[in-house]
């Protein structure tokens, strides 16, 4: 248990180091959230309500976090293929989920920067003054959201190991989640058939928890649901990892780029 925790921590740090050293990823991470934020602010400024702008500001910040995980989790696995390291990771004696999880956790951690950058951009470029009502719960909500995003990214990444083209799925999921999980538009405005989909997606609850803690409310139930779903994704990912790897070993797709 202790060595597994150490593996996750060391791997997370080294993955994070690699992400931060990539000029391309770095540039994207700096620019993207600002685009999201600017678009959201212009759209919601028309409403002329300060509370709506704060709502949009928080939504745009989580959008950036989600984009960082959904698109990067797929491309991260694709990069492991290109680098020729995927086979080395699979042939290591540790359970593959312990190898994969720190990688997606590293990506989700980068997402925290997106959140902070968006809020600062809103403050200095658009004058949105964000006062956090429950700072501690706000911080916990961010941590919970990062963990649940990492869990969902992990579940994606497992499928990317087996199917080379699955990284496209990451891009495919990027925009619907913005909408379905209520990042910019409240869930109540969406058709009722969308609601069950939103409920099983942890970003919905992470977003709620962040908003409730920032704007004043009861974020704890949302946070707990977000964490529970995040852990459920990890559990599901661990369960399917062996099956997915066996399928990849049968098909011989691990070495393909």
């Amino acid at each position: 248990m202790r060595s597994s925790l150490r593996l996750v921590l060391v791997s997370w740090w080294l993955q994070f180091k690699m992400i931060m050293r990539s000029p391309f990823d770095g540039f994207g991470n700096v620019i993207y959230p600002l685009f999201f934020a600017t678009t959201a602010f212009f759209v919601f400024r028309a409403g002329d309500s300060p509370r709506t702008l704060i709502y949009a500001s928080l939504g745009a910040s989580v959008m950036g976090m989600w984009s960082s995980v959904s698109t990067s989790a797929g491309s991260a696995m694709q990069r492991e293929r290109w680098w020729g390291t995927l086979e080395l990771l699979v042939s290591a004696p540790r359970h593959f989920s312990l190898v994969l999880l720190p990688s997606t956790l590293g990506l989700a951690t980068v997402g925290v920067y997106n959140l902070v950058a968006t809020l600062l951009w809103g403050r200095f470029a658009f004058g949105i003054d964000l006062t956090i009502e429950h700072p501690l719960l706000f911080a916990l909500s961010i941590v919970g959201t990062v963990i649940s995003f990492a869990g969902l990214g992990f579940l994606f990444a497992v499928s990317f190991v087996r199917f080379r083209a699955a990284w496209v799925l990451g891009n495919f999921f990027e925009y619907p989640v913005w909408l379905i999980c209520g990042f910019l538009v409240p869930l109540t405005l969406l058709p009722t058939w969308v609601h069950p989909i939103a409920w099983v997606l942890a970003p919905t609850w992470g977003m709620n928890a962040i908003r409730e803690s920032a704007l004043g409310g009861t974020p704890l139930p949302d946070l707990l649901l977000c964490l529970a779903l995040g852990l459920a994704y990890v559990g599901a990912g661990v369960l399917v990892t062996d099956r997915v790897l066996r399928a990849a070993r049968v098909s011989g797709s691990l070495s393909l780029t």
Partner: protein, 321 residues
């Protein structure tokens, strides 16, 4: 108990041809090979590109599931006991891939030390030892993207040894290296068996297998076509004569006619710059130069020479059959 055992090992790949009308096609990469490697032995799998060497090694290191036959490493089944096998083997492949370029050499080793379960208190000492062994000391904190090909290859070797595995699989570890870099890697490989490791090495360099291996299996088109010590293989070609004919565009039928001549042991065609060279190994006491030329009607013929066979000829003959 053998350290590595393969029994009638097979691997078939399913692939597709066509775009709109896709057709499934099966390719037999390994066609029922059997061999055993004893503990402490350095065993070579020698063969040309596409012969099935890498597929064989990937089945043995648990990355591919065989479609037939079985394989055991240290008595453990590579399919059913894959996890146990992984703990006790190391894998090194050639080329520049397999390295995290944005991390330093040290961080690369640190990461894999965690993945291979090297206890935390031993990691530092182990990494230092290996950096020393492969000659990367003083460069370990530089990013791997600045390393030469040879340095990356040495980093690979260090990675493969991190968890002190009993069996090492080296897949063309000197490919693409300059002569000095290749020699350094070969020296490191030679030192591994002195440290009691069992090594399975794949290569397509005859001289490398000859210099390093206790025994060699020559693999061609997915099958083992010869097996023995380097001396055994040399003995197999010590007799006979080689006739080399420079030709410009040789037809397949002409090649078959030459192959059918009485006294011809093997025929191969080598590409050399703009010409092809027909290499015909014949029995020692027969003179076939005229007969060979007579069967090349239609091809432009250049220089003709006769010489004693070399080890290279043995290899070419075996993989051309």
């Amino acid at each position: 108990m053998a350290a590595i055992e393969a029994a009638d090992l097979r691997r078939t790949y399913r692939t597709h041809t066509g775009t709109l009308r896709r057709r499934a096609k099966e390719i037999e990469a390994v066609r029922g090979i059997s061999f055993a490697v004893e503990p402490g032995e350095l065993f070579g799998l020698l063969g040309p590109n596409g012969a099935g060497k890498t597929t064989t090694i990937k089945m043995l290191i648990t990355l591919l599931i065989p479609t037939g036959g079985s394989a055991r490493v240290l008595g453990l089944d590579v399919v059913r006991q894959a996890h146990e096998v992984r703990k006790r083997i190391g894998y090194v492949f050639g080329g520049e891939r397999g390295v995290y370029e944005r991390l330093s050499g040290y961080d690369n080793l640190r990461y894999f030390a965690e993945l291979y379960g090297v206890p935390a208190r031993e990691q530092k000492r182990r990494i230092e030892e290996l950096l020393d062994l492969v000659g990367l000391k003083d460069r370990e904190h530089e990013r791997a993207e600045g390393y030469s090909r040879g340095m990356k290859q040495r980093l690979h070797v260090a990675r493969g040894l991190l968890h002190d595995p009993e069996v090492l699989f080296l897949d063309e570890p000197t490919i693409g290296l300059d002569p000095v870099g290749a020699r350094e890697i070969r020296e490191t490989i030679a030192s591994l068996t002195q440290a009691g490791k069992t090594v399975l090495l794949t290569t397509h360099y005859m001289f490398e297998a000859d210099a390093l291996c206790d025994r060699i299996a020559v693999i061609s088109k997915g099958s083992i076509v010869a097996e023995g010590t380097p001396l055994d293989l040399k003995r197999g070609v010590a007799q006979g004569t080689v006739v080399e004919v420079e030709v410009f565009g040789i037809a397949g039928e002409a090649l078959e006619r030459v192959r059918a001549l009485t006294g011809v042991l093997s025929v191969a065609v080598e590409e050399r710059e703009q010409a092809q060279v027909l290499v015909v190994r014949t029995e020692a006491d027969v003179e076939l130069t005229q007969a060979i030329l007579g069967n090349l009607n239609g091809s432009d013929v250049g220089r003709i020479s006769r010489r004693e066979p070399t080890l290279e000829d043995a290899y070419v003959a075996l993989v051309s059959e």
